[in-house]
């Protein structure tokens, strides 16, 4: 099994510099050794590490350390500091090994959906263009105000692998890119679905089933999200769905082990074949075989 969406963080140091935030103060850590122990106890063999702690190249040092130390266990998703000139950073991070894609939250397109759209004017366009040219994954968590821009980018780059984070919920302006223990308080199902669900027509648009703790209005096992999970399965199919815990934010509640059981709680009718794809098969194909 593969956990497709986790974060690792070292304490802030000269060796592993990172941004310090309220959510991640200097002495906060989510070490890879703890993740490996949690994974082992829950039956996960591999994971996809999502960069936290900043978007500058030096902020990626702990992620790179983990990828280098455990090359068979992990793949990584980096971040980009300068969306206007991203090529050098994207290539540099990818060439150091294990980083297969880049997380993107700001699209830089018109917030008014009635505006004529030219993707070349979007501030993130160079990222999409370079990702398409180099077959990098776009790990996508767009704001609700910009999600209507995504279909235009898919039309421009129809073969690109794009992975919507957190069940394809798109946060309101005020929510941070890393949710931590934030409650998103969005409608269920999300209103952004009208611009998202039709993306199943593109061959490589996927969705990570993660972040339930933030988007549910209920306590574990977040049963109000069950219909939405099954809607995503019907629309995108299991070979476009991945499972992720969003560790470490789920460690206090509900805990790593219980997060790993959520698919059985929320999708009790899923077939064994589909379950195997969601719990690792899709991630193996989309992330680890690149």
């Amino acid at each position: 099994m593969i956990d497709a969406h986790v974060h690792v963080l070292a304490k802030e140091s000269a060796e592993f510099p990172r941004l310090i935030t309220d959510q991640t103060p200097a002495d906060f850590e989510a070490p890879v050794e703890q993740l490996l122990a949690d994974m082992e106890s829950a039956g996960f063999e591999q994971a996809n590490l999502i960069q936290s702690g900043g978007s500058e190249i030096e902020h990626h040092r702990y992620l790179q350390h983990c990828l280098k130390t455990y090359p068979d266990r992990f793949r990584g998703i980096g971040r980009i500091a300068d969306p206007q000139h991203p090529e050098q950073q994207m290539d540099h991070l990818a060439e150091t090994g294990g980083i297969v894609g880049f997380r993107l939250s700001h699209i830089g397109g018109p917030r008014d959906p009635l505006t004529p759209m030219d993707v070349r004017s979007f501030s993130s366009y160079p990222i999409w263009k370079h990702a398409a040219a180099k077959d990098y994954v776009i790990w996508l968590f767009p704001k609700a105000a910009e999600n209507h821009c995504i279909p235009f980018l898919m039309e421009a780059f129809p073969e690109l692998t794009v992975v919507y984070n957190h069940m394809a919920f798109c946060p309101a302006d005020g929510l941070a890119d890393s949710m931590g223990d934030t409650k998103a308080e969005l409608p269920i199902p999300p209103e952004t679905r009208y611009n998202t669900m039709g993306l199943y027509q593109y061959p490589n648009v996927c969705v990570v089933l993660s972040g339930q703790y933030s988007f549910s209005r209920q306590a574990y096992p977040y049963t109000d999200l069950g219909p939405w999970h099954n809607n995503l399965l019907r629309t995108f199919k299991a070979d476009h769905l991945l499972w992720g815990t969003d560790s470490p934010w789920i460690l206090p509640e509900p805990g790593y082990g219980r997060s790993a059981l959520l698919i059985d709680e929320l999708m009790p009718g899923v077939s064994p074949t589909d379950r195997a794809l969601i719990m690792g098969g899709t991630a193996e194909i989309r992330l680890f075989r690149r």
């Binding site: 917030r111 004529p116 759209m117 609700a144 209507h148 235009f152 039309e155 309101a172 952004t192 027509q201």
Partner: protein, 250 residues
Amino acid sequence: MTNPGGLTAPPTAEDRQLWEEQGYLFLEQAMVGADLARLQTAFNRAATDCKPDWLQGIANGTKPAAHFDIPNPFERDDVFIDLIDYPSWYPYLLDFAGGKLLLLGPQVRTLPAQPISYVNWHPDVPQTNPLHMKVQIYIEDVPEDGGAFAFVPGSHKPGVGDCPQPIPLSAMPGHKLFPGKAGDAILFNSYGWHTSMVNSTQRPRKSIILIYEKWSPGKIPSDRFAAFEDQLTTTSRRKLFSLEPMTSSA
């Protein structure tokens, strides 16, 4: 509003046959002249007034970006109330509903251009639901690639099976596309498979969708449209808007 010439007669035998066999009627220039101009003006004014709230709702994640519906249109202009029993389509609806017709509501809708449609092919209700009908009125010209309405003739009949989900939408076998001029309207049986096709024009589509159903007890609370009671003075209107109970002689 006035009656456009030649469009007010109850359905002819030919209309009825088309409705029963195909599940739709295309009402060319169902609204013209001053009536259409009045509707366009009210639509555009309401859209201008409501747009800031819509954009804020999108940013908050509480409103969809894929379509912009004017909230509470009946409160904004009487023209939207007058649409409900407009003589170009009302006689057809009343006839097809066996004289017992309920309004469920209007959608005053602007559809942004998008490379994908906001909705797949679908029926609105199962065959077990009372007859469910919609009238879609184009407020501006809608070209083939401008988010035009599309319908699969005959798909409203019992026993047609599950609605296919072809990729792209235009691959649906046997579908009929309805480009149109401002003032054209399509009346369709919502058991049938339909969708809004892709709008690749960069120009938003403006239309109004009126939703009706054959009367059944308890479907609409009697106070749903009570706020507009002063506009609903005839018996037929009061029944249509569920202010008065339907009777066997309705």
